[in-house]
């Protein structure tokens, strides 16, 4: 996990998750000196992944970067995450996330929970 500015959110899946995550992603991205169109990219990409997850709760980690943001969304299995990212038809979550972000990758934690992470904007911290 990068940076102390990390924000962790857990929300019960459903309409509240959609409304809360959309707003939290936008508020966090706005603190990352991203232009408005890129803030919208982050919100749309998060929306696409939220709609594809089949879980009772949603776990989101946001890491603001100097001129960008990393968003991790889960939990999911490694297989389900890959299936989501493989949905490359127009409007499919894979196509939306890959089209709107600079980088997409799969991550996991020691408990075996997996997540999909994408970065919108630059990462100058490496």
């Amino acid at each position: 996990v990068k940076g102390f500015g990390r924000i962790d959110v857990e929300v019960t899946a459903g309409p509240i998750a959609d409304a809360v995550i959309r707003r939290v992603v936008a508020a966090s991205a706005a603190q990352s000196r991203l232009p408005i169109d890129r803030i919208n990219d982050a919100v749309l990409a998060a929306d696409a992944l939220l709609g594809a997850l089949a879980t009772s709760f949603v776990s989101v980690t946001l890491v603001p970067l100097d001129e960008g943001i990393e968003v991790s969304i889960g939990p999911t299995s490694d297989r389900e995450a890959q299936q989501i990212l493989d949905e490359m038809h127009p409007g499919g979550p894979g196509a939306v996330v890959r089209g709107l972000s600079e980088r997409v990758w799969l991550g996991g934690d020691p408990d075996g929970r997996h997540c999909i992470t994408f970065r919108v904007g630059r990462d100058d911290t490496n």
């Binding site: 924000i7 962790d8 959110v9 857990e10 019960t12 509240i16 809360v20 939290v24 508020a27 603190q31």
Partner: protein
């Protein structure tokens, strides 16, 4: 309202985190259909509790964490705001002190407020706010 919170946030204890907390609350309000006046009151109460964490919970120049859990249940909203720092302690001289209106404001806006020192350190503020019906306004 002791089960899993509907929304659980862990953020840096920095002023800019209050915007994120308020946005999360607005998201819940949008779905639950709360009256705007209640949302405004809830934002004030929660912002005051979060501000206490940002200003008082950690020594200056120390990074700390802020935890906020929100659970709407029927006509009530339960909110827990906690820190992992020194907690709320009486201070003879604190140049970061404000007007001292935060806790009375929370008490005025919430139906119930309680404070406790967490076993793992830090202070937990638990507040329950009554959500009025549109007819009651």
């Amino acid at each position: 309202m002791d089960g899993q919170p509907t929304v659980d946030l862990t953020l840096p204890a920095r002023p800019e985190s209050l915007t994120v907390v308020r946005q999360a609350l607005s998201g819940v309000a949008e779905v639950e259909g709360w009256p705007p006046s209640f949302l405004a009151d809830a934002k004030i109460a929660i912002s005051e509790a979060c501000s206490n964490v940002v200003v008082h919970a950690y020594p200056e120049d120390t990074e700390g964490r802020l935890h906020v859990a929100m659970t709407p249940a029927g006509r009530q909203l339960c909110v827990i705001v906690r820190d992992y720092g020194s907690g709320i302690e009486p201070r003879l001289v604190d140049r970061r002190a404000g007007l001292g209106l935060g806790l009375p404001l929370i008490a005025a806006l919430a139906a119930e407020v309680s404070f406790r020192r967490a076993e793992t350190g830090g202070t937990e503020v638990r507040m329950v706010l009554d959500i009025p019906t549109e007819e009651a306004l």
